[in-house]
Structure formats: C-alpha cells, structure tokens
C-alpha cells in the first residue's frame, strides 16, 4: 500500500515537473503577445511581467512599470486595451 502511494506521488511529481516548463512557455508567449498588443496601442508598459487569464482572449496584464491593463477581444472583433 505504501509503495503504491509512493509510486503515485512520484508520478504526480514527475508529471508536474514535466508539465511546468510547457506551461511556462505558454505563459511567456502570452506575455510577449500582450506586451506587443499594449505597445501597438501606444500605451506605456515596457514589458508584461505577469498575466491573469480570465477567459479566451481576455487577460489582465501587469506591466514592469506597475500599470495594469485589461486586454480583451470585444464583440466586434477588436482588441481593446483598458487601463485599470
């Protein structure tokens, strides 16, 4: 029983260890994407350092300079960047 539990824990840990880099890569791509979007709108940001995804094409981006932006795709198909 204890061996099974140990094996299960090891497997979970391994999966987490392997999955973390891919998630981090996705996160980096999103941050880069949002950095470009905010820059395209001419808004001050510098670089997006963290992203909170609220839904499909709906993110809260926190910039290096402390600004936070709500970046989302509205119903008319336009990318909107709102400062918060």
């Amino acid at each position: 029983m204890s061996k099974r539990v140990i094996g299960f824990v090891l497997m979970i840990g391994t999966v987490a260890f392997v999955a973390a880099p891919s998630l981090a890569a996705d996160d980096a791509a999103t941050r880069k994407d949002l950095t470009a979007v905010i820059a395209l709108q001419g808004l001050p940001c510098g670089e997006v350092i963290s992203v909170k995804t609220q839904g499909d094409n709906d993110h809260i981006a926190t910039c290096k300079n402390g600004n936070r932006y709500h970046v989302f795709l509205n119903s008319t198909g336009r990318v909107v960047v709102e400062k918060q």
């Binding site: 090891l10 391994t14 994407d33 949002l34 470009a36 979007v37 395209l40 990318v79």
Partner: protein, 245 residues
C-alpha cells in the same frame, strides 16, 4: 522491489525527456546573437590575416560595402575606396517617396538588411558585419522581388513571430487605415495623401518591429514591397480595385 524499481526507471526516463524538452524551448532571439557573437569572434581573425586578404581586392563590388567599416585597417583600404562610390550612387535612387517618408524607410530597411547580412558574414570570414551593416542597405532590399498582397497576407497570418492578439490588433489598425483611405477618396476626410503616408509608415514600422527579430525574411519582404503597397493605396483606381476584392 521490482515494481518500485520499474516505477523509478519510468520516472527517470520521463524526467530526462522533460529536461530535453526544456532545452529546445527557449530559442528565440538568442540564435542570432550567438551567430553575431561568432561572427564578431571570427572578425578579428581575418583582420590579423589581412595579408591574406589583399587577393580579395580583386573581387567585385558586393564585399566592399562591408569593408567600408575598416578605415583603420591598412590592407582593406584600397577596396573601400573603390566600393564607396557605388554605395553612394545607389543611395539617392532608393528613396523614391516624399522627403518625410525617407527616414522611416531607411530605418525599416536596416533590420532587414541585418538579417540578410548574416549569411554573407558567415560565408566570408573577411567581413566585419558587427557595426557597419548599414553600408549594405541599398543593395539587399533591391535583390528581393516585391510581394503580391495575397502572399503578404498569407505569410503574415502564418508567421509565428506574432501572437494571435497582436495579429488581431494589427488587423484592426490596417482596417482603420483602409477606412481612412476610403473616407479620403469619398471626400469625407479632409486630408492629403502626404498626411496619410504618415500613419501608413507608422503601421509598416510597427509590423517590421514585430517581425525583424523572429521572422527577418518576412520583414525584408515587407520592406521590399513597401512602395508597391503605397502605390496601391495612393492610387484611386488601384485602391478601388483592391477594396472591391
């Protein structure tokens, strides 16, 4: 014991596979810098071997613009004197547009030529592309034929250098610009073509800044087709034809 050993082996294999995946992920802008570093390292060697380069003065004009950056080196000077006039002769012909647009065009061409200059730099060790890539500006963009709009659109859609949200945002801005041209030709917008050239140049620069690091070939293609695109936008008949499609 055997079970635990098997589990351990499986875990080890998965961890190793994961580590292999992590190493391949990060490449982005780093490869170019690495090559630049290599070329920078390679550059001093040829300069020390400059006695061997005197045979190189005989080759034709393409290498000399690069060597134009080497006034201090003695052996390379003869070709530079021969090379500078062609570069100067080509430059005036390049900017065909109005004066205000000339500077952005020159800026946009720089990244593209940087990318194009990497291959010759790697091939010819005698070149020193680190600082004076600007000397090659006039020649490289002319070599690439202009794009047609369908190809340009397809390549922009398929490039991985730009994220999805960025692509949508760019499309929004392109649509806004096209609406401005529609309003201008309809007489609803009181402006001039020269004033519309400014947002066009700005938009092209935005696209180039997004592409130049990750997709330099597409950036170079856009630079090459820049005037052709403006030719469509600035001509009422061509624009009407384009807008109808």
């Amino acid at each position: 014991m055997i079970r635990s050993a098997r589990i351990g082996a499986v875990v080890l294999v998965i961890v190793l596979a994961g580590c292999g995946g992590v190493k391949t992920a990060p490449p982005g802008t780093s490869p170019p810098t690495a090559t630049q570093a290599e070329s920078a390292k390679a550059a001093p060697a040829p300069s020390s071997v400059t006695p061997a380069s005197p045979p190189s003065p005989s080759p034709p004009s393409p290498p000399p613009p690069i060597v134009a950056a080497q006034p201090p080196t003695v052996a390379a000077q003869p070709p530079t004197v021969a090379a500078q006039p062609p570069a100067a002769a080509i430059e005036p012909t390049a900017p065909s547009g109005p004066a205000p647009a000339a500077k952005p065009a020159a800026r946009a061409e720089a990244p593209a030529t940087k990318a194009l200059a990497k291959a010759p730099a790697a091939a010819a060790p005698s070149a020193q592309p680190s600082k004076k890539d600007i000397a090659q500006e006039p020649e490289k963009p002319k070599a690439e034929p202009p794009l047609d709009l369908a190809s340009l659109e397809t390549r922009l859609k398929e490039t991985k250098a730009i994220g999805l949200m960025t692509k949508i945002s760019l499309k929004n801005q392109v649509d806004d610009l096209l609406n401005q041209f529609r309003a201008f030709y309809a007489g609803k917008l009181q402006t001039t073509l020269a004033e519309l050239r400014r947002p066009y140049d700005l938009l092209v620069l935005k696209v180039l800044s997004l592409l130049q690091d990750s997709d330099p070939t597409l950036a170079a293609a856009i630079v090459a087709s820049r005037e052709a695109l403006w030719g469509i936008l600035s001509d009422r008949a061509k624009f009407a034809n384009f807008a109808s499609n």
